[in-house]
Symmetry: C2
Subunit: 677 residues, 2 copies
């Protein structure tokens, strides 16, 4: 009977097995016995991670024999590796065991994409020391801004029951070089630091360790008060410091390689040092001091803003730049890529490059809170690279965000890059099969930010679907076009924050609530009136441009030199303003929205044409999501154009497809989004 | 104060006054005093209708002086008229007073469209004696298949309270030559023949009379039993005959010019002579005999079918043709234009021309039961003319349906044409402003079936909106294109009866109900399977083609000669069959559905471009309806293609826009249509 079952298992076609996307880009085919005989994988050291590297190659590598060599003296490699040909063998050298594991995945990736490794001679060194995912997972199993089902972490089952997905999660991350994870939501429950939960965290850390992944936790700044029963959590109070020192000690007893804390403090209602008249530096440094003996790190978020008269876009800069030089060496300021909040397009946050004596890191968002959740196909590598490649001019030309965040200001400081995960318990991990590409792209860019979006897409397509040219090329093109498409149909020309309240899914440029925070209201950002539209952040307005270094300050601040894709972010522009296309602003806005819809319809055609290249389940699931995306694109277009038309008082250019919705009906749409927690 | 109010009234711009469409095409401007002085309208006879003709011209005619002359000897004119120039005057001659009224409206129409009347010399004789609207209005105020609000007839208020809309209704009808109306639903309540209701009917008839309009009533065949307390309503029973004779006498005492009865018998559950083993002729003749002394007419519907094994399309023919020659002279068989039921396209009903010794009339449907209700802009004149111009070949070439129904088989028989009204209590009368055009077109074609659809559209546009070329021409084109558009996006290539159950609004090609009548199920009509689609009505199928005369029988019955726009009505065709376009049937079906959607989007553009020519209310109301129509067109396309694709197993051609709906979701749509009663 058991034998029969085994045979039946063999008969199940691979394509069916893989059809739910649960394999991600790791669809390696086991090598057959004959190949395994021929090519040996040699490894001298008895280290768990290194053994894993050997095991992966043993199972899946069908090329030349490989020697895995650990040479701790080649420190410049950090967690990287060399791969060279030596006669008929490949010689892999790494300074750390995890370097061998990354090298193994590198080889398997080359194999999957069909690369020629005959004359291979590469040296790979990661650009960032810490390549970390932020999970906004709550302890009740929900995920804030999670659109792929409930949390992967089954807190109630832990530490006793270990889901096999924990290891698969770790393997997937390791395969793209991710080496750290924050398990819980930045809106953190103090409970995560209780002994019970630390046991659970330890269980996960034990799984992740052999894949080179360190665990971090989001810490609630009020934990000493809430958990320790202290009178408050004032960072300068001795008892508070002592509580944290003891807590950190307790953590490291469980998890010797614990990474550190991520903290959202004094932001959107979270507690923080300002509650006690202390600064962000006071708060961060207290935690840093507790972590320092163990080599732990504090990632302190710069996403702070208050409902004051001041332009929200300016507030992080105003709060943090004066603190430059006041942070401990093991504090990294974690800064969202844009000044507002993960919009389809924003300029880079000017805090980047404005704190010479402070280590900074980017926070990207992989989960598409403002980009159609897991319903819209939006390939984010171009968005990530737009920020990483952005010139800050803080240290002259070439001072890109990537350069600023990859170069430590001083000796022992670590560099880091983070992104909010889009991972949940769905079979596909990310809800949308193409959401996997964004997880993949973040990992690859965290390793090497100079990779092109195209190349990353191509790698991912070959591994996740097929390398057939007729499939790969149109899909890559679709992915490359997708970010501009979403900008077009949601918020073109620098529009931002005009999404629906609370769930953030659909359009709501008319959004308003009596007594609501102005900086949560769309009108605060678009400022549409009969004269024009956009947020005046020039000198005559909020002067947020002044936070950018020259020549950006002048370029952004000038209507004629401001890039048009950020125009309405920096300027309130007349409806009749002539754009570079020769169209008026109003016409151009209409044209962009319309173009976005057309693009998504093209994506549908592209995908449908490729049906024969994809297993049925994934084909149909992506097809279905593209239908939603097209409907949503039309919804966004109609909602925004019909609303802004009230002010523009001009017709939508008659050559463009007409709205099919009534503004009044669109205003009535109130979604009960289940995946928003 | 009263004077102030009067002045204010004068200040309200005409455009605003007219903005709700309640004026229909009767937007004549009162002539000013100076003009009225200059041009006299002379009339010698003191007849109420003739006086009304004079009054209309007095109020609105701004051209030459007119003499209205009644000459009862010119019998060939029937209800028609001559208009000739005589010196500086226009001389109008008619044999009946109503002819003068029609002539007055003719002159006003010429004036509105800006025609040159300098050398006018016309003689107009109506093609049909009885030009009648059928109202499917129920006594409870609802309207079966009515989409313009509740019934115009306020039965509860009648006979005491006379709505001013009754006269406006009569005037509108007279202005286009309609001279008869059936007030109540063919699914008739016996109650209409009670003394109380006859008082109400009399009140309406009294209003309509001076516009030359006669009232008819739908009679329930069971009335003798229900109202008279007889044991049954067997038409051969003496007491039943006596009851009807007495009832008719009672009616004529109230309404001396009562027109007669419309009867739906033994059809869809209505009672009829077959309940007693009698024939349709037995039933119709009994009523005809009762009406004959008063000159009344029986319109007996041929819309009969039963859930037998026989093709529903054949049943009317099978029931009625054997009865040819058995009907009284004052019976007219009222036959729906197509054999099924007012579909976007059907062939003509083969009963036309198959009963040489029986007077026949067409029943059209103006209310768009199967053409998007009052939501879709569909100009029906081309549909009406398609039937009227259809060659039956019953008396050789030239035996069109129009010729058959306009030529009485014998001396005193009357000719008639009917249509189910789209009129309700809505301000716009017809729900959709362009629905007015279909009421208008029916009237005009009932008068002169040789008018072109284009000319009727043009007349209507000039009177209802404006004659400006830049408006008139694109709107006329839109109207002319609209019927093929609805065929394309609903039921192209001869598809029929694939609409949703009960309300008939949306698509439901998958429709099925356990135990339901097969001939009410879409699958009965489309027969989609893996080999192909369509209803085989050739010799190898139901042989409905045999009911058509040669050469039609052969033409329809042959796959290669059957008109493609009726292909799936007559044939079950292979999905891969090569169409005249060179495309396969499946591809052609996709292409047609897609073309329908594109057409409606073009209508939106056309209309939006014309905003400056239309008052705001009507502009926006039509714009809004066009949005619905576009959404519905996509809905129809997606539903039908995704459903039929299950059988065709071929992709929608990749150059076509992709579906945006999921079939499973579309199947869940259950509408609660309020206007369906």
């Amino acid at each position: 009977m058991r034998k029969l079952f085994f045979l039946l298992t063999l008969l199940i076609p691979r394509a069916l097995y893989a059809a739910d996307g649960s394999e991600l880009w790791l669809r390696y085919k086991p090598v057959d016995a004959e190949v395994a005989q021929r090519r040996t994988i040699r490894l001298q050291v008895n280290n768990e991670i290194a053994q894993l590297a050997k095991k992966e190659l043993d199972s899946y590598w069908s090329g030349s024999p490989v020697e895995l060599r650990l040479d701790r003296s080649v420190k410049r490699l950090k967690e990287g590796y060399q791969i060279k040909r030596r006669g008929s063998d490949l010689l892999v050298t790494a300074a750390k065991p995890v370097g061998l594991l990354y090298a193994a995945y590198h080889l398997l990736r080359l194999q999957e994409v069909g690369a020629d490794v005959q004359n291979i001679d590469i040296e790979e060194v990661p650009d960032f020391d810490i390549r970390i995912l932020n999970h906004w997972d709550n302890l009740d199993g929900t995920v804030e801004r999670g659109y792929a089902g409930y949390s992967l972490w089954k807190w109630d089952d832990l530490p006793k029951k270990i889901s096999p997905r924990y290891e698969r999660y770790a393997r997937a991350n390791a395969s793209i070089g991710i080496n750290a994870t924050v398990l819980n939501n930045v809106n953190a429950s103090p409970q995560i630091l209780t002994p019970d939960y630390l046991e659970k965290v330890k269980a996960l850390a034990d799984v992740f360790r052999k894949y080179g992944i360190r665990v971090y936790l989001s810490a609630n700044f009020s934990s000493p008060k809430v958990l320790g029963g202290l009178a408050d959590s004032d960072p300068l109070r001795k008892e508070v410091k002592a509580w944290w020192i003891a807590k950190v000690d307790e953590i490291y007893k469980h998890i010797p390689d614990f990474g550190g804390f991520l903290v959202k403090a004094n932001s959107e209602g979270q507690p923080g040092p300002q509650d006690y008249g202390r600064t962000h530096a006071d708060g961060a440094n207290m935690l840093a001091d507790a972590l320092k003996p163990y080599g732990g790190t504090v990632m302190w978020r710069a996403f702070v803003y208050n409902p004051t008269q001041e332009d929200r876009a300016k507030q992080a800069y105003q709060e943090f730049v004066p603190l430059d030089g006041k942070f401990r060496e093991n504090v990294i300021i974690q800064i969202k890529n844009g000044p507002i909040d993960f919009q389809p397009r924003e300029p880079f946050t000017p805090v980047f490059g404005a704190m010479d004596k402070t280590q900074q890191m980017v926070e990207f968002q992989i989960t598409q809170e403002y980009l159609g959740f897991s319903n819209h196909l939006v390939y984010l590598a171009p968005l990530f690279k737009e920020t990483l490649d952005a010139e800050t001019f803080s240290r002259g030309p070439g001072s890109t965000v990537a350069r600023i965040t990859t170069s430590s200001a001083g000796g022992s400081k670590k560099t880091a890059i983070s992104a909010v995960s889009n991972i949940g318990e769905d079979d596909s991990w990310t809800g949308h099969h193409f959401g996997q590409a964004n997880w993949y792209a973040f990992g690859r860019l965290a390793w090497n930010h100079q990779l092109t979006s195209e190349d990353i897409a191509e790698e991912w397509i070959c591994q996740t679907f097929t390398g057939a040219t007729a499939f790969r090329e149109p899909v890559r093109q679709m992915m490359m076009d997708s970010r501009e498409a979403v900008v077009d149909y949601m918020m073109p020309l620098g529009l931002h924050h005009i999404f629906a309240f609370d769930h953030h899914y659909g359009p709501e440029p008319w959004g308003d609530m009596e007594g609501g925070r102005p900086d949560w209201m769309p009108w605060y950002y678009h400022n549409a009136d009969t004269t024009g539209i956009g947020f005046n952040r020039t000198k005559s307005g909020s002067n947020a441009v002044s936070q950018y270094k020259e020549p950006l300050q002048t370029a952004y601040g000038n209507l004629t030199t401001c890039p048009e894709n950020l125009l309405l972010y920096f300027h309130h522009v007349s409806w009749s303003h002539t754009m570079k296309s020769g169209r008026s602003l109003w016409d151009e806005l209409c044209f962009r929205y319309d173009r976005g819809v057309k693009e998504v319809r093209e994506f549908q055609k592209t995908w449908d044409r490729l049906e024969s290249y994809v297993d049925q389940q994934r084909f149909e699931e992506v097809q279905s999501k593209l239908k939603i995306q097209t409907r949503d694109a039309v919804w966004w277009k109609d909602a925004c154009l019909l609303y802004f038309q009230i002010f523009a008082k001009m017709p939508i250019p008659y050559e463009l497809e007409r709205p099919i919705h009534e503004l009044d009906e669109l205003k009535k749409i109130k979604l009960d989004m289940k995946h928003h927690n």
